[in-house]
Amino acid sequence: MGYIELDVLDSAPRRIVIGIDLGTTNSLAALWEDDRPVILRQEGASGIIPSVINFPPQGAPIVGKQARAQAVVDPQHTLFSVKRLLGRGLADLNNDLQDLPYAITENENGVLEIEMRGRKYTPPELSALILRATCDQASAAFGNAEIASAVITVPAYFDDAQRQATRDAARLAGIEVLRIVNEPTAASLAYGLDQKGEGTVAIYDLGGGTFDVSILSIEGGVFRVLATNGDTQLGGDDFDREIVEMIREDLAGDVSAEELADPAFLQAARLAAEKCKIALSSDPRHEIHLSLPDIGLNWRRRVTREEFEERIAPLVDRTMDCCRRAMADSGVQPSELDEVVLVGGSTRVPLVRARTQEFFGRPPHTELNPDEVVALGAAAQAQVLMGGTRDILLMDVTPLSLGLETVGGAISKLIERNSTVPCSVTEGFTTYVDGQSGIDFNIVQGEREMAADCRSLGRFKLTGLPPMPAGMARVAVCFHIDANGLLTVTAKEETSGVKAEIEVRPSHGLSEEEMESMLQAGFDNASDDFDRRRVADLKAEIGTMLLAVKKNQAAADEKLDPESLKDLTDASARASKACDSDDLDEIRSARDEFEQASLPLAAVLMDHVVKGAIQGKSLDDV
């Protein structure tokens, strides 16, 4: 834009490493700057991107606020809460499947698929769209900086399949994952840095779709997780669903069953339920108003906080069971805790606050913004991983026990839950039959006694064993959980020296071939991607120009003629508004107009600079 660049732009786009909170309801990015983590947001915006995707009839999928705005208009093509689908199979979903306005199927490899506008998407591909949008916005908010890599957070109670799926999503989005960090651990980091807190801390993290509780000891910059527990299918979404149920029960007599199952009705009810839940956090009662002219519905109902609390009480009880288990595993008594920190938007619900206070025997710490604290912690961890500081050390644990299925369906546990990661365990196995040439292994994760009740992460077969009598083969199976909480399994037969091959087939994950073909499809969509890139660039440019105008507002007010000043003010407002859209043409024309309108200001400033130079002043003094 004009010559104002002289004044504000002094360097090429920077390469930055960010922390991303990939949430069920909202996603958010943060960056370490000037010795502290900050949320990446554009001028005047919250930085929060709703984790919602809309598939318009033509063109690329839309992510964020605009996608969310399509929920009622286009419910069949608007996806919410895809995080709950990551690394899951159809059988895992139960409640989540009910009433969805689109079909979810499972392919032959056990990976879920959703068909949108004639194309099938897997959960990692959908999460990749959200990650990409989050990165683009972060980049735009930071002067169009290039996102080199990122720390991405996941619920602590995510199992291996869910973590792998998250990593696949990042890869599909073209983001290098520096580390996968557990959400409550990231939150503890932000809390510890912000409050200079030390001691034993409980983090209660109830988000849109998942619940975690972690007990940590914080001492001298070391954040050590003692125990963690949780439920990856429990969150604010379930509170909303209770209110939707309430609405449907009330309407059952007056509205037909088909209409109650209608996608538009369900989305409207869902949004009204969410609004009601939020209102009831501050008000004792709220009136739900549903207006759907298409089915002749104009309905109001008052919901009291007591009613709401009664319905969600069993869900809150479930979180308390997790807290009890985490405390028992940590060996810490509630009286020994120094602080309880609440994280996640759903902890704004008064019943949640009351129950946590009752359970832990102290008022919870609520000074941090529960929506931002995870992303802030992730940015701090990114700084550590970049070699920026050695003052902070996270020692995290694996949430679930890992083992192998043995004869009769029992489990041989190799790694206990709450083991500090990274950790490695090797155990010996042998053959049961003379001349047996291979052994089948089923890797399971979970706390139940029988393999059938745990989650199967994958099966592999050790083949090529030389003929030996039963019990002679010595097969060493090694489980390694890395600092990301991700499992790798290796196996070898030790007596024969024959190198045996293993092939692990993920139970609900993408195979390498599937990943390859999806990445290829990504290249094929390069023109869409190019448009999105262009949109992001233009938004970044507008952001820079807005900053420049703001910085020079005094000069503009003083030196510009009223007409130019009005043009500039109007054009900057329009440009700022255009940034809410993702329409390339709209943004381009807004930027061009803004540039034109800023020329008089540029001229004034340039004049000033020249005069300054003549008077022997340097540019910096102007």
Binding site: L178, R179, G220, V222, A313, P314, D317, M320, D321, R324, R325, A328, Q381, V384, L385, M386, G387, R390, L393, L394, M395, S419, T420, V421, P422, C423, S424, V425, H480, D482, A483
Partner: protein, 208 residues
Amino acid sequence: MSACPDCGAALQTPLVCEDCGALQHIPGTPSPFEVLGLASGWKVDTAELGRSLLRLTRLTHPDFHGVHGADARELAERNTALVNSAYSTLNDEVLRAEWLLADMGAPSPDEERQMPQQFLMEVLEWNEVLEEVRAKKDQDNHSRLESLRTDLQAQRATSLKQLGQRLEAADRGDPQTLRQELNTVRYLDRTLSELDELALEQSPTRGD
């Protein structure tokens, strides 16, 4: 004690040079005592153990080696896993005893499943109480559970103390006897965790 190939300083632990911070390649599997730089034996100062864990983790953790390339990262993963495993072995008295028994060639729990004779009578009594608690869901359950827990914990402490005294002695005695005593502790631990589960199931604060 070997020296660091990078700076020549004497290595206190085979994992990493505490002088220059160079991660070391370790052939084979070092003992948990070697890993943490502690004297081998039953007696372990838990405060010192905790300090060792933090001091070594600060040097080996993959968080601090990611920028040095894939090989360094892998070595950091491996060596930190060794630190964590050594710590969890030595921090838990049962696992520590298991390691010492295995090291002296005592039979594994699969090879020797017996517990000392005098212990079996008490087991029968405890089982009776446990069955009662399981069958009934009355008000007395809580106090029954708690008094059983106290008994079991007392017995556990006694058994561990006896085992520890033997392990510390110059002559540790018959490995089979040691194994039988350790089996007692393992039995008590299993029963105590069953009690925890029962207590959780029957907890009065559970909203049901």
